[in-house]
């Protein structure tokens, strides 16, 4: 596998150089050349306006991962219904909302995989949120999530019922299970997808995700193996409105008797730290390096309290230790889509924008008028957040104190 540049076609336009995520292209004598840094990602092939770049296969050997997948035998869209302490995670309901659309486009059933101990009553909720079928595996061994027991249960289900697509939440459990399962059933997995849609002609799942810290977006396909596995972070997809009159079929499957499980969950500890539910927040007041320190975040908290908002932060602020990492918004933090996002002292690194650009209304407060955050903001205030936020607080207080005497609004 390597990238070839057709020297007679290349115009030296440098488009490929700009598109290369690893900086592997140099323009030498008006012609692009590929250096050793090339990872064969193919980004340049797409970008070349004169089709002078090709990806060449050294051979066409079939990998073992691709053998014996009769694609036509795989049908249906599945969602892994992740539980914690016997409760369905929000992410599972969001995935059902998305899975419903994919299943309808493909004209197939939407299945939910429910694994646990005495969890059958939860099936009704899965039907309400869109599932046609619930694949149920119950066993005392499945009380808590463990990699090998859950992987074995899913492997058995997949081999028996052959879904074409399986969506898993990109939680600390889903990101443990997904790749283990992909390795087991020899199929591809795309992590942290932000957009899923169907190429109806080829009957393939287009899995779009950010890469390089959100600097580029990539659409990944899994053409030859099944199921097509994707993980999605919470807050990215939308739940459907539940219909509790909806019903469906429950298919009970047996937990294989001879599963090798080499881990023991000795304890599950809930930490007393405040739960920061950024994904479901309607308003977020977020701070970056411009906040200057933990004291600065106290001011943000005051504003947030007044607005009924939750405090978010950029990676810079979290890495500086000013605020715990569960407040982090961005590619390596949380993906949020509130109706209002107020970015204070955040310059707007791509990795941050990747997590919040889908907010309905974005307000940016920054001293530097050329900060990238203003490129995606709806409203910009060029100024010192330590002057703007107190003024904002005062005005908000005036409003709540009965705005008769105030001419503010």
């Amino acid at each position: 596998m390597f990238v070839i540049i057709e020297k007679t076609h290349c115009t030296g336009c440098e488009a490929c150089q700009a598109s290369c995520p690893v900086g592997a292209i140099e323009i030498d004598g008006g012609i692009a050349t590929i250096t050793d840094k090339c990872t064969c990602c193919g980004a340049c092939v797409e970008e070349c306006p004169v089709q002078a770049i090709k990806l060449e296969n050294e051979n066409n050997n079939i990998a073992p991962a691709k053998e014996a997948f009769h694609l036509g035998a795989y049908q249906g869209v599945w969602v892994f219904a992740e539980l914690r302490q016997g409760t369905i995670m929000n992410i599972a309901l969001e995935l059902l909302g998305e899975g419903r659309k994919l299943a309808d486009t493909l004209g197939v059933e939407l299945g939910a995989v429910l694994i646990g101990n005495k969890v059958e009553p939860l099936a009704q909720d899965l039907f309400a949120y869109g599932a046609d079928v619930v694949y149920l595996v119950e066993n005392a061994e499945l009380e808590n999530y463990r990699t090998e027991s859950y992987c074995a249960a899913l492997e058995k289900l997949i081999k028996t019922y052959k879904p074409e697509i399986l969506l898993i939440g990109a939680t600390n459990i889903g990101r443990d299970l997904g790749p283990r399962l992909a390795g087991r059933v020899r199929t591809g997995l795309t992590a942290d997808c932000t957009v899923l849609d169907i190429d109806t002609e080829k009957r393939l799942l287009n899995q779009t995700r950010p890469a390089f810290g959100g600097n580029i977006m990539a659409t990944i396909i899994c053409p030859d193996t099944r199921p097509q596995l994707a993980t999605v972070r919470s807050g990215v997809m939308k739940k459907a409105t539940p219909d509790f009159n909806r019903t469906g079929r429950i298919i009970k499957a047996i937990y294989p008797p001879d599963v090798k499980v080499r881990t023991i969950v000795r304890d599950i500890v809930k930490e007393a730290k405040k739960i920061v539910n950024l994904e479901e927040a309607q308003i977020i007041v977020s701070g970056g390096r411009g906040v200057g320190g933990p004291e600065g975040f106290k001011l943000l908290e005051e504003v947030a309290a007044r607005l009924g908002a939750i405090v978010g932060a950029s990676r810079g602020a979290v890495d500086s230790g000013w605020i715990p990492s569960n407040h982090q918004v961005g590619q390596t933090g949380k993906t949020v889509h509130p109706k209002l996002y107020i970015a204070c002292g955040i310059s707007g690194a791509i990795q941050h924008l990747a997590g919040m650009q889908h907010s309905s209304v974005i307000v940016a407060i920054n001293k530097n008028s050329s900060a990238p955050i203003f490129k995606i903001a709806d409203y910009g205030i060029v100024g010192d957040l330590f002057k703007v936020l107190p003024a904002l607080l005062d005005t908000l207080k005036e409003i709540t104190n009965g705005n008769k005497e105030s001419s503010a609004i």
């Binding site: 700009a18 073992p64 990101r175 199929t187 810290g213 990539a218 659409t219 899994c222 000795r266 609004i409």
Partner: protein, 262 residues
């Protein structure tokens, strides 16, 4: 203890800037680094070696210049380093990458523990660790934030969850993936750096040394394919609010109320 640490050399994405005019990346002068989580994995492996004795072998798959990441690992305290490099490995997705790593680890033979970082900052997939564990038929614990005990046949670790952690006992050998809470990685010492570049050697393995079929590596063995890549869409049309600070915040609040977001 024989510990193997899997590393990835990555571009420092924190330094990558975006040119909003042209919609392209500005990478001039962006350095390659050892992936941050992998550095935590390496640090923990070195600490365990210091406590229990044994060796730490750092392994990476990548182009020839990934050699530099291994030199850094040696400078921090790894004893041996193996670079898996062959043009045939290029274009590998996580499935194929983990299979090549597994093949190399089988060739190394004896090991008690394999450490990886949770995820790399360029791809953010967190997939290679669990896929490697599956290919080697080993138990795995991901998101390891603390090692409570480490015996010859089992370990007890804390695995981070979103709202707390699990205490997990795992039989060895096993694959563990490290998160940044696990430790603070050390800096290389001057003598470590000198040793890494002048004394210690890096072993390079390609297709021949791994004795692996071409269909099992690189893009050929990758179930996923990149269909297209593109720049993220950028919004525009920011409305700058001006005037005195008082006027500015009043205008802002009026606008937000008009849009029904307040």
């Amino acid at each position: 203890m024989q510990i193997i640490v899997c590393l990835k050399q990555v571009p420092n994405t924190n330094e990558v800037k975006f040119d909003t005019k042209t919609g392209t990346l500005i990478r001039d002068g962006v350095a390659s680094i050892i992936n941050p989580d992998d550095r935590n994995a390496l640090e923990e492996a070195i600490r365990l070696k210091e406590l229990k004795g044994g060796t730490v072998t750092a392994i990476t798959m990548g182009p020839p210049q990934a050699d530099y990441a291994l030199r850094e690992a040696l400078a921090m305290g790894a004893d041996e380093a193996i670079l898996l490099s062959d043009r045939a490995f290029a274009g590998a997705d996580t499935w194929a990458t983990s299979l090549t790593l597994a093949q190399a680890i089988k060739k190394i033979g004896h090991y008690d523990l394999i450490f990886c970082g949770r995820q790399a900052i360029d791809g953010d997939t967190a997939q290679v660790g669990p896929e490697l564990a599956e290919h080697l038929d080993l138990p795995q614990v991901t998101y390891v934030k603390k090692i409570i005990s480490m015996d010859s046949d089992k370990a007890v670790v804390e695995r981070a969850l979103e709202d707390g952690y699990e205490v997990i006992e795992v039989t060895l050998p096993a694959v563990l993936t490290a998160v940044k809470e696990l430790n603070t990685p050390r800096y290389a010492t001057t003598s470590g750096i000198v040793d890494a570049f002048d004394v210690k050697k890096i072993t390079v393995w390609g297709m021949t040394q791994l004795d692996i079929a071409t269909g099992l590596v690189g893009l050929n063995a990758s179930p996923t394919k990149v269909k297209r890549t593109f720049s993220p869409a950028v919004k525009g049309d920011v409305k700058f609010l001006t005037g005195s600070i008082k006027e500015t915040v009043q205008t802002l609040l009026k606008e937000l109320q008009a849009k029904h977001v307040l």
